[in-house]
Point group: C2
Chain length 337, copies 2
């Protein structure tokens, strides 16, 4: 078991220019996790809090599964499968093949290694531990250094509304492969949920330099976080600037159903619509170079705009985007003073 991504910068990545910076990242799975890896490489662990979506958590085969938390945890631990965007590298599937032979449900893939996370998490939750405590401990065991915080310890479940009725998120996302058209989203349980311990304190920290909304799906990765009472308010009230990185590049989602959802919801399928989605929260916005022509409209909305390469195809690109975002924050701070 390694506690370093195989491709992590041998100099450990920490750069003097970012030594004192303190950030909170809001993040979902794949795209968000990539930027989180870049931020983790540049910032000292004590200065990075990653608040992660748990709206797509579900109980499957009796196990509590937290897909986004796991993607972020495996990514930060250097254990993520770089090909799939979920699960562990070097995974094996013997459990699944045996389950199939027993007639078990096999639409959700659970690798032999990954299963240990779900079983241990489920056991601890059943024993009364909180999701945030379990997340912290499992992460520590795997060598995750920054604070990885679920959005809430309470269950908040993303429900996907479709013309044929409501679907639990993983049924929509994995079982039905995002085929149904979406008409809207709900976050069951959000009304009574509270932000997980540490989330509000990190957002309201007077020494915080930035809140970074990672390039995750706004509807099903970031909105669930914002739906937890107190979370949106804390972000809006934070003294730190709020910066979103667009998950849409050239009208396409890099991975996942974001663009398809935007079409189905009647929203223009471009980065501008992402900025508008977060209207009222943002101070800055990061566009991909492909979308340079939209920069003027972003600035017309009184947002600072950074144009950068947002396709994080490898480790160096994750680091480069994180570096660009942090430098953007520093520029915003210089302008403000």
């Amino acid at each position: 078991m390694t506690n370093r991504p195989a491709d992590k910068d041998p100099r450990d990545g920490k750069e003097a220019q970012f030594a004192g910076m303190r950030c909170v990242a809001l993040c979902g799975g794949v795209g968000g996790a990539k930027l989180a890896v870049g931020l983790d490489a540049l910032l000292v662990p004590e200065n990075l809090t990653i608040i992660t979506n748990t709206g797509d958590d579900f109980v499957h085969l009796g196990l509590h599964i937290s897909p986004d938390l796991d993607t972020v945890m495996y990514s930060l631990a250097g254990l993520a499968n770089p090909d799939t965007g979920w699960g562990r590298a070097g995974e094996s599937w013997r459990f699944m093949s045996a389950l199939r032979a027993l007639g078990g449900e096999d639409w959700f893939q659970l690798g032999d290694l990954d299963l240990a996370t779900h079983i241990e998490r489920s056991r601890r939750l059943a024993a009364g531990e909180s999701l945030s405590a379990v997340t912290r401990d499992l992460g520590a065991r795997l060598g995750v250094a920054p604070a990885l915080v679920p959005m809430s310890d309470a269950p908040v479940r993303t429900i996907v509304d479709t013309p044929d009725g409501a679907l639990a998120f993983q049924h929509y996302f994995v079982r039905d492969k995002c085929a149904p058209a979406v008409t809207g989203f709900r976050f069951a349980g959000a009304e009574t949920a509270q932000p997980a311990p540490g989330a509000l304190a990190a957002l309201g920290d007077p020494a915080l330099d930035a809140i970074i909304i990672c390039p995750s799906n706004p509807f099903v990765s970031i909105d669930p976080i914002l739906a937890v009472p107190g979370m949106r308010e804390a972000i809006a009230a934070a003294p730190a600037p709020v910066i979103a990185v667009s998950p849409i590049v050239g009208g396409q989602a890099i991975k996942g159903p974001t663009a398809k959802m935007m079409r189905e919801l009647g929203v223009p399928g471009d980065a501008l619509a992402i900025a508008d989605h977060y209207a009222g929260l943002l101070d800055g916005f990061v566009l991909d170079a492909t979308d340079q022509p939209l920069a003027r409209q972003i600035r017309d909305r009184e947002l600072q705009c950074l144009v950068s390469d947002t396709l994080m195809t490898g480790y160096e690109e994750k680091l480069a985007l994180a570096r660009a975002v942090l430098q953007f924050v520093q520029q915003m701070q210089q302008k403000a003073t």
Copy 2:
């Protein structure tokens, strides 16, 4: 996935001389499962019911684990690990290694393939299915032909009393490797348990030819079955003869702690003490050839006695012992007429 033991008799084992015979076997794990494999090879499936100990079932990591049921199921399915006496052949341990890295409990080995059984069983039990229904269905999926019946659908848990206090069975057996001295056994929950569906009907079947107590540990494999209210009474009242096969050969248990337990309980450590343990229930007793000198004392107890080779080192030996036991039953029937 095969539904035949790799070493199963190519003629399918069924022999004309046993074509119409109908038996119930009472059985625990290893030794019992071996004889069950032999009986399964000789009898037509409709004529064999295997009532299996569930006193060593437990909930571990949130999963319902039934070690003896699984050993019998895997043995009958030809999937058992011939080296360990438990678990599946060709097993892998990636889940366990990942669990260990997360700080999970690792004293009870759960293979990647085996885990599918525990997860699917646990899921179905949680959904309200009975253990006997789940056992029947999982067995059918794996190609188990005879009726495999847990002793009860209710939890009955073997408690091992020691000078230092009571231990749950798997803590004694696996975690503590049978090291503590035993002073007695209790079967928690037995008072209110009922025999699983089919057990009493099979035992009371007027067409039954024999009830065979397999060479399993009398204290922790057979006694839990007998502790389920109605079970001992049904065996005592059954018109069919009751035959026990000794799990003790030359004063030693073939596998497991039987002989050690007998010493600790102050019981003579020989096959005779096994016959005495079942006093009042038996009509016949099967001794190993090594214990031939005890045959006279067995007969002095007014039991029919068969001396045979009871060490089931391979498939042919399982078949041979099963054949010898069934012929013994036929001889008893001829004497009786």
